[in-house]
Symmetry: C2
Amino acid sequence: MTIDIAEVARRSGVPASTLRFYEEKRLIASIGRRGLRRLFDLEVLDRLALIALGRAAGFSLDEVARMFAPDGRPRIDRRKLAAKADELDRTVRKLIAMRDGLRHAAACPAPSHMECPHFRRLMRVAALGTARAPKRAPRAPRSG
Amino acid sequence: MTIDIAEVARRSGVPASTLRFYEEKRLIASIGRRGLRRLFDLEVLDRLALIALGRAAGFSLDEVARMFAPDGRPRIDRRKLAAKADELDRTVRKLIAMRDGLRHAAACPAPSHMECPHFRRLMRVAALGTARAPKRAPRAPRSG
DNA sequence: GTGCCAGTTCAAGTGAACTTGAGGTCAAGC
DNA sequence: GCTTGACCTCAAGTTCACTTGAACTGGCAC
């Protein structure tokens, strides 16, 4: 079954411009044209889901691209997955600390946050662990 | 007590180029010069920690800038903090699901990930929630 | 007093992931 | 057969958070 680019966009929520961009980057492949119009196999939807998954897990597009074998089938390195899971775990811990710190700061009765020991502690943690969150978070595609 | 830019960089771990950039963006302010050389009040270190905190929590530099009153004192909206905490909480939940999914996929015996029901479920979740992670994650400053 | 070098300025570059704009094409509907 | 409009290409622009490069300055050590 083949669908055109508009249909792919509709079903996946990925804008056509992004689909073309992904094709150029060899993340997806169209299987033909009707006139100028790209045609895709339905499989592309799985592929896009896989790309979304990779992105959500913190892989860059290039990394995701490397996860496809030349034949187009996913070739996912289990060690990479485990490593990424560990990285996510560290991120999660940090974010939880941050969340709790923010919650406290939001409820804290100190007149200025700078006088709140909890807040100062949070600040220290943030200053220490500067930039330990996931490499790059995806941006909301249209609703952001 | 005043310290020069090199000292600020040394104590905070923030490169001098970034400090100049932050000054230009009005995130920090130097209090004078010795020759050309910027001098800062020790307070700048608190300020930088606060910036790091905001960034780590997912605020953009512009958002962070808006959290300082014109006099330079932090003016942190408690409702914004609470909202950010909630957002972080959602992010954390998503990342935990992702982490567990990755862990499973890494250990999964299915010959191809596409045949693994867990993996497919994970894919669906990622495709649905595309781009729901924090707006922007900070990059590691030097350690890349 | 003079040379060094860490600082300075300003403009431009980087990289990721797209988006936008200008100008062109073509299948389909009337 | 002609119009329409969604798609096409290719280049350039956008955003964010910085970094880099070239050309310059000036306090400090000697």
